[in-house]
């Protein structure tokens, strides 16, 4: 039996975890460090090359390493250097957000949700009471009405305009979060509706529909091509307008108007994503004991009451992880939007397009204008935001709970 202590133990452990550690260092830690450094410089298409004599640049910049130096471009442009002030790129992106008026505008928007937040605990307390003075749904309805009234009273429309006018970063993040908030409930509603329909035992052609409705998900492997088909549908000379013309209606330039362009990218995403929800919910529906429905029927519960009191609560463990996963993929949406609208229609120079989301905007900034340093800062801020969001989602969804048990 070999000795299992001291340096031998350390060496053995290192031999096993070393390759993984090196992989993490090379493929995760180094890119983050390098990106963070670039975000503090003025690197762009006109200052793309490094000055290898600068300490950190010489260490972090690959083209300064001996193995790459032979091919490194020198050019006749000035090398990039540290930005003055150092956090200038960050200030350009979010500096205006942290000003009094913009924070006040944000507070006004959040204030509109206060009635709904308060309604939650009230409803919980009401649920525990047998003799309720007010029905929980009335509390929710009142909270919604109060929220809407507050939105008018606090002039939320102007507050949103102020926030979206405070910089590109805020605009594209606002658009992306809105896109997620619109898409995810639609994925859920369409997926749930179709799953419930396909779960009806005596539905004619049930097997056929189960297969055919998954096709969009199968086609998502070629998402760009499918997106181009959607674009073709909604072009001025496209299928939709030609169909409208057949019934005597005049079509419109769907992709040239901000609202309709938004509608198209939401529709295309819903079409490609609902099968994921449908299949998951359909699977989860099979695991709900039939006895529960039978008991509810005996008690005289309506279809709606059975849905709200049995189906949805028991679907919750299956739904929350897919909502989290779909929120992440929708936040990162690129190909579909890029192929259909390219981020447009344009809202003018120096302003993100009407359908520019985080990824399309970042792509344009990096690959079309080569604003490397600015986008380095953009990526770091997004990284922090998503890291926080993922930590929170892990907590509420308990996806990784099993790993620690």
């Amino acid at each position: 039996m070999a000795q299992w202590k001291g340096w031998r133990k350390v060496l053995t452990v290192l031999a096993f975890i070393g390759p993984t550690l090196i992989g993490i260092l090379i493929f995760s830690i180094y890119p983050i460090l390098f990106n963070t450094y670039i975000s503090l410089t003025n690197r762009n298409k006109f200052h793309p090359n490094p000055d290898c004599s600068v300490g950190l640049t010489g260490i972090l910049e690959p083209t300064c390493w001996a193995v790459f130096r032979e091919h490194a471009s020198a050019g006749i442009g000035e090398p990039y250097r540290l930005k003055e002030p150092l956090f200038g790129n960050y200030a350009d992106l979010i500096g205006q957000f942290f000003t009094g008026p913009v924070l006040l505008a944000l507070a006004k928007i959040l204030a509109c949700f206060v009635p709904l937040i308060i309604a939650g605990p009230i409803n919980k307390r009401l649920d525990r009471q047998l003799d309720r003075a007010v029905q929980p749904r009335m509390v929710t309805l009142t909270a919604i009405v109060l929220g809407i009234l507050l939105a008018f009273a606090l002039n939320v429309k102007d507050a949103i305009a102020l926030i979206t006018g405070s910089g590109d970063f805020i605009v594209v993040n606002f658009s992306t979060i809105l896109y997620v908030l619109i898409c995810i409930p639609l994925f859920f509603v369409v997926g749930l509706g179709l799953a419930l329909l396909l779960n009806v035992p005596d539905l004619p052609g049930r097997a056929f529909f189960r297969v055919i409705l998954i096709v969009p998900w199968a086609a998502s492997n070629v998402a760009i091509m499918i997106a181009l088909v959607w674009k073709f549908f909604f072009q001025e000379q496209g299928t939709i307008n030609q169909l409208l013309a057949l019934i005597g209606l005049t079509g419109r330039s769907w992709l040239q108007e901000p609202a309709t362009a938004w509608f198209v990218i939401v529709l295309a995403n819903v079409w490609m994503s609902y099968p994921f929800f449908m299949v998951t919910i359909l699977g989860a529906l099979q695991s709900i004991p039939v006895e529960l429905y039978e008991a509810a029927e005996v008690d005289g519960a309506s279809w709606w009451q059975r849905l709200m009191s049995i189906t949805l609560p028991l679907l919750r463990p299956a739904i929350i992880p897919i909502i989290v996963l779909s929120s992440i993929t929708t936040f990162q949406m690129f190909g579909t939007v890029w192929a259909i609208t390219g981020g447009g229609p344009s809202r003018g120079a120096g302003t993100p397009g009407a359908t520019d989301l985080v990824m399309t905007y970042a792509y344009k900034q990096v690959f079309q204008t080569q604003a490397y340093a600015r986008m380095g800062a953009f990526a770091i801020i997004i990284f922090i935001m998503l890291f926080a969001a993922i930590l929170y989602s892990l907590r509420i969804s308990r996806i990784t709970k099993g790993a620690y048990e």
Binding site: A15, P19, S73, G77, Q235, Q237, A349, T351, Q368, T369
Partner: protein
């Protein structure tokens, strides 16, 4: 036994790691001259060399933006070069995004030896060090002036150096389908946009289809929209000193004209939409360049030309990359570039592709001069504004395109859009300086 296994595992892991960290390419021989030191300048050639500069087998990679039938005639020239120089293999490749591909490939040593690009890319790529000046490899102004057209000679120079050899000159013209319209449907004065507006309205009302299609208007394509803006007196979008001419009365007048003609045009226009619309008889004319002619001829369209507006005159060029120098391919690559742009090959390519050759002797050839496309596109090019080679030129497309697109779709008024574009463009130029 366990000790032995432990040691073997350690050695294996260490060897895998060392293999993974090793260089993927064979190191350059010690005798190779340093990459930063170009070969000593030689006597300026006055004619393209016909003797191959090397007898050793060599593969030259060319990245390009040619496509479709246009590419077929070009491939034939390179095939002929390989027949004449059996030791040389030429590989053609078309990257999806050449700017991004170059930024990654050149430092990695995986870039092309030659890249075919318009001259507005010269400034930025010279700054980046992706391309090298040809002065250091024996190309001088005397050779340029004796071989190529004056506009092309000017287009390949920047910062006192020669950065490319010109292939062809490009300008857009109104190409109309003779089955749908005649010259009388268009203004006789190429600067009379009031007449073009009136004729667009009349044609639309009479036939129910637009008179012309221009992808620059809704698509935010500053190149195609230039024919309109320069006609209204905008001198250029940005000059060599970095002065921007967007927030000007001339640009405003052009933008207002754009809104006036919008009701009589398609709302969405792109290269494919315009091409299909012209071929299918849904639009009478297409404001396009020589690259579209091969497709129209294949579709059997009987076309004519109208001289209208002041288009951008771009120069298609071939540039020598830094990787060609690193690989010691510079002499062969330059020989290929000169072969491709010589009189015989430019004439052959022009007769096939209907382009405007940059080579003077090819341009003056009677057969070439007899081509209707040379007269058609040439007349428009003669009125046009040369595209700059400065780094500022490569930064113009975004701000101008966004402004035109915003004006077209109504997101911004012309005044607001042009002011925003001026600000964004000037901010970009400040970043360069």
């Amino acid at each position: 036994m366990k000790k032995l296994l432990f040691l073997v595992s350690l050695v294996l892991i260490a060897s895998f790691m060392l293999t993974a960290c090793g260089p993927t390419t064979t190191p350059a021989p010690a005798t190779q001259p340093p990459a930063t030191q170009p070969p000593p300048p030689t006597e300026a050639p006055t004619v393209a060399p016909t003797v191959p500069p090397t007898a050793a087998p060599v593969t030259i990679t060319i990245w390009h933006m040619w496509s479709g039938d246009y590419l077929t005639a070009i491939e034939a020239v390179f095939q002929q070069y390989m027949v004449e120089h059996p030791e040389v293999t030429i590989e053609l490749s078309q990257p999806t995004d050449p700017t991004a591909a170059m930024a990654v490939a050149i430092p990695a040593g995986e870039g092309p030896d030659i890249i075919g690009w318009p001259n507005d890319q010269i400034g930025t790529n010279a700054l980046n060090g992706n391309i090298v000046a040809l002065d250091d490899y024996g190309v001088d102004l005397a050779f340029l002036q004796s071989t190529y057209e004056p506009a092309a000679v000017a287009g390949v120079q920047w910062n006192g150096k020669i950065w490319a050899l010109p292939e062809s000159q490009e300008a857009i013209a109104l190409v109309y389908n003779k089955a749908l319209a005649s010259a009388s449907d268009f203004p006789s004065n190429p600067k009379d946009f009031t007449d073009l507006l009136a004729k667009s309205k009349a044609y639309f009302e009479a036939h129910g289809i637009p008179l012309f299609c221009n992808q620059g208007f809704p698509g935010g394509d500053a190149y195609h929209a230039a024919a309109l803006y320069f006609s209204f007196g905008v001198p250029t979008y940005v000059d060599d000193q970095g002065t921007v001419y967007l927030n000007t009365p001339e640009a405003l007048a052009a933008s207002n004209w754009l809104l006036s003609v919008k009701p009589y045009l398609l709302k969405e226009m792109s290269h494919e939409i315009c091409k299909t619309a012209l071929i299918e008889g849904k639009v009478a004319a297409w404001w396009t360049g020589p690259w579209a002619i091969a497709d129209l001829e294949n579709a059997g369209i009987d076309y004519g030309f109208v001289t209208m507006g002041k288009p951008f005159v771009g120069i298609k060029t071939l540039m020598l990359t830094k990787n060609a120098v690193d690989r010691d391919h510079a002499a062969v690559a330059l020989d290929i570039i000169e072969y491709f742009t010589n009189t015989a090959n430019q004439k052959a390519e022009t007769l096939a592709n209907k382009t405007i050759p940059a080579n003077t002797a090819a341009f003056m050839d009677p057969e070439v001069q007899a081509l209707p496309t040379i007269a058609g596109f040439g007349a428009n090019a003669a009125l046009g504004i040369p595209m700059g080679s400065t780094p500022y030129a490569s930064a113009q497309w975004g701000p101008v395109g966004d402004a035109i697109s915003a004006i077209w779709n109504g997101s911004q008024t012309p005044e607001v859009a042009l002011a925003a574009a001026q600000t964004a463009f000037e901010a970009a130029i400040a970043g360069m300086k």
